[in-house]
Structures are given as structure tokens and as C-alpha cells.
């Protein structure tokens, strides 16, 4: 079957014989090693990018396990100690009738991190395969992942505020649990993972497609 007039070919900087700067977008001849506009280091494709993506992603996933299983908040009221995990806290809020807040906590600390693991993993796997995806789904996914990752930090802030405020000694005291630390690390690691991803690799599939 003949494709009379296909979509206009996508011209990548690499095929044009140029190197694009990921920070400011200026293109240079391949001889340059630092960007003349912003001073960032230039490489056409970062060869070690995927390695770093996987390494940070693994670290993030490992740190996520204790973040889910260990207590996030320890509440002591009149000598009685109660420990709450992240999910436990969200369920507690739900039972009290604060559905909306419970939903925010659940989305920020369970839904977003897990879908981020999957999304980064998918992106890192899919740039290796030569499967061509029509449209710009992967570019969009990359931007969403980069934008949304930091919002998971919300639960760590909640713990910090609560435990700095509720300090009445014996009457009522809230202390942060170990999960707060590992959760913060998990979010930071996955943010680094998303940042190490070289988005230009997504475009390579289009390059192969045309030739």
C-alpha cells in the first residue's frame, strides 16, 4: 500500500549534524564540548543515561519498601503509643470522614510513586526497543513524570509539621517514624532517576522510522 504523503519527517539535531543542549536548547556543531550559551556540557546522546536511570530507579524502589512497611508517625497520648504507616494514616483519615484529604494522601504517597516506577521503567525499556509509537505519547509521559514526582514529598512535610507542633510531653506527642526518612529518600531517588533520563533518546525511534 502506498502512503502518498506521509507525515513530514522529523529532523533531529543529530541527523542535522548538530548537538543540542538539553538545558537551554541551543544547537552547536559536534566539535563543541560545552554550550556557548549556558555553559552546560554537551553530548549528542548520553550513553550512560540509561544506567543512571536504572540505578536511581532501583534505589528508589528499594527505599520504598521500608517506607510502606514501617511506621510513619508515632502518636503517644497519655502513655499509650500508636504507630501509623502511610497507608494506615490514609485509612484512618478515610474512616474519620475526611475523604478528600485521605484521597490526596493516598494519591501522593501510593499512586504517584508506584505509577512513576512503572512509567520510568517503561520509558527506559521502550527507548531500547525499536518499536515506533505514533504520536507523542512518550514525550508527554516523560514530562508528566518529571512534573509530578516532587508532589509525593507531601507526606514527609505533613509528618514534619505534625511532629514539630504536637509536643505536649506526656499528654500528646507525635514523633516521626523511620518510614519518613526512607520515603523522602525514595522520592528523591526517583526524581534523580527521571532527571537522568535523556529525553532525546525518545526521538531516536522516529529517526530510525524514517530511514
Amino acid at each position: 500500500m502506498e502512503d502518498a504523503r506521509g507525515t513530514p519527517a522529523i529532523l533531529t539535531a543529530r541527523r542535522a549534524g548538530l548537538v543540542g543542549c538539553t538545558r537551554c536548547g541551543r544547537v552547536h556543531s559536534p566539535r563543541e564540548s560545552t554550550c556557548r550559551r549556558c555553559g552546560s556540557a554537551l553530548t549528542s546522546r548520553d550513553g550512560a543515561s540509561l544506567q543512571r536511570v536504572w540505578a536511581w530507579l532501583m534505589a528508589g524502589m528499594i527505599a520504598y519498601v521500608p517506607a510502606m512497611t514501617f511506621p510513619m508517625l508515632m502518636t503517644t497520648t497519655l502513655g499509650q503509643q500508636q504507630e501509623n504507616t502511610i497507608v494506615g494514616g490514609a485509612i484512618h483519615l478515610f474512616d474519620e470522614g475526611s475523604y478528600f484529604v485521605a484521597l490526596i494522601v493516598f494519591v501522593a504517597s501510593v499512586l504517584i510513586p508506584i505509577s512513576k516506577f512503572i512509567a520510568i521503567g517503561y520509558l527506559a525499556l521502550s527507548v531500547r526497543s525499536s518499536v515506533v509509537i505514533r504520536g507523542h505519547g512518550r514525550q508527554r509521559l516523560y514530562h508528566v513524570v518529571e512534573f509530578i514526582g516532587r508532589w509525593s514529598m507531601i507526606d514527609v512535610f505533613v509528618v514534619a509539621i505534625l511532629s514539630s507542633l504536637v509536643r505536649f510531653g506526656f499528654t500528646a506527642t507525635i514523633t516521626p517514624g523511620i518510614a519518613a526518612l526512607s520515603f523522602a529518600l525514595s522520592v528523591a531517588f526517583t526524581m534523580l532517576s527521571a532527571q537522568s533520563f535523556d529525553p532525546r533518546m525518545i526521538w531516536d525511534a522516529y529517526e530510525d522510522d524514517d530511514t
Binding site: 538545558r23 537551554c24 536548547g25 541551543r26 556557548r36 550559551r37 549556558c38 555553559g39 552546560s40 483519615l93 474519620e96 475526611s98 484529604v101 490526596i104 494522601v105 518529571e146 514526582g149 516532587r150 508532589w151 514529598m153 507531601i154 507526606d155 514527609v156 512535610f157 505533613v158 509528618v159 514534619a160 509539621i161 505534625l162 511532629s163 514539630s164 507542633l165 504536637v166 509536643r167 505536649f168 499528654t171 500528646a172 514523633t175 516521626p176 523511620i178 519518613a180 526518612l181 523522602a184 528523591a188 526524581m191 532527571q195
Partner: protein
């Protein structure tokens, strides 16, 4: 560009106010307590959670302020029609790199959730720092939507002394 510089300066002033005024205050059965932003940062300073204190301090205090300072340094001379200051490109590159790690807007949402959580146990009063931060978030969002990074980079390059 002038607007961005003004908004950045506003945000910086609000940030300083937010650090020193009380953030939240609670009253419960005759006891009351208030906490400032610094107190929140210090929440993890006991035992071996200490590293998290530095992380928290960076995310809600140091990096937002440093980012504002870098933006003002980059943009203010150009807004006044001068050449960019020395190392302005470096400053702007840092500002861009800091962007995902400055999390004040996430912090304010966290504060809102904490309010819901505590209000079941005690009366909570919002301090001036809370309002300062709330306005700061609006100003920051406004500033970031006004600012086009590509334009800033282009202007930096065009106005650079050769």
C-alpha cells in the same frame, strides 16, 4: 522581565517573613504551642533522622531562597537595560537546576493536610508565616508562568558583552 524581577523580590521578602513569624499555633486542653518554619525543619533533628533535617531545610528554605537570588541576579540587570552581570548564565543554569527541588508549594499543601489531621485533636490557629507562604506560592507560580526560559537564554546570549 521587570515583572519577573519584581515578583521574585516579593517572593524573597515573603520568604524571610515566613521564616521568622509563627507558622501554626495549636491549643488543646489548656496547653498551647506554636511552631515556626525553622521548628518544622528541626522536626527530624533527633537521633539518626538528622540527615532529613538538612534535606527538609534545603527543600523549603535554602533552595527556594537561593533560586530567587539567582533569578534576581540574572534578570535584574537586564530588566534595567544593562548587560547581564558576570556569570549570569551560570546563575540562571543553577536556578533552573534548583527548580524541581524547591518545594514550597508542596509544603503548603502538606500544611493544609496537617491542619485537617490536627483539627480533630486540637484548635489550630494560622500564624502570619502561613499566610506569607500561601501568598508566596501564588507569587511563585505567577512568576514561573510569566518567565519563558528560552527567551531568557536567548536574551542572555544576545546581550552578552563580546
Amino acid at each position: 522581565m521587570t515583572q519577573i524581577v519584581m515578583l521574585a523580590a516579593t517572593a524573597a521578602i515573603l520568604m524571610v517573613a515566613a521564616v521568622f513569624f509563627p507558622f501554626l499555633e495549636i491549643h488543646a486542653s489548656g496547653l498551647s504551642r506554636w511552631s515556626s518554619l525553622l521548628g518544622v525543619v528541626a522536626a527530624f533533628s533527633e537521633g539518626w533522622m538528622l540527615p532529613l533535617t538538612f534535606g527538609l531545610g534545603a527543600m523549603i528554605l535554602v533552595l527556594p531562597l537561593a533560586r530567587l537570588a539567582a533569578l534576581i541576579y540574572t534578570l535584574a540587570p537586564m530588566a534595567l537595560g544593562h548587560r547581564p552581570a558576570p556569570h549570569a548564565a551560570l546563575a540562571f543554569r543553577w536556578a533552573e537546576a534548583m527548580r524541581p527541588w524547591a518545594m514550597v508549594e508542596i509544603f503548603i499543601l502538606g500544611a493544609a493536610i496537617s491542619l485537617v489531621k490536627i483539627s480533630a485533636l486540637a484548635d489550630v490557629a494560622l500564624g502570619p508565616a502561613f499566610w506569607a507562604l500561601a501568598v508566596l506560592v501564588v507569587v511563585t507560580v505567577l512568576k514561573d508562568t510569566l518567565m519563558c526560559r528560552m527567551t531568557v537564554w536567548k536574551t542572555l546570549e544576545e546581550r552578552r558583552p563580546s
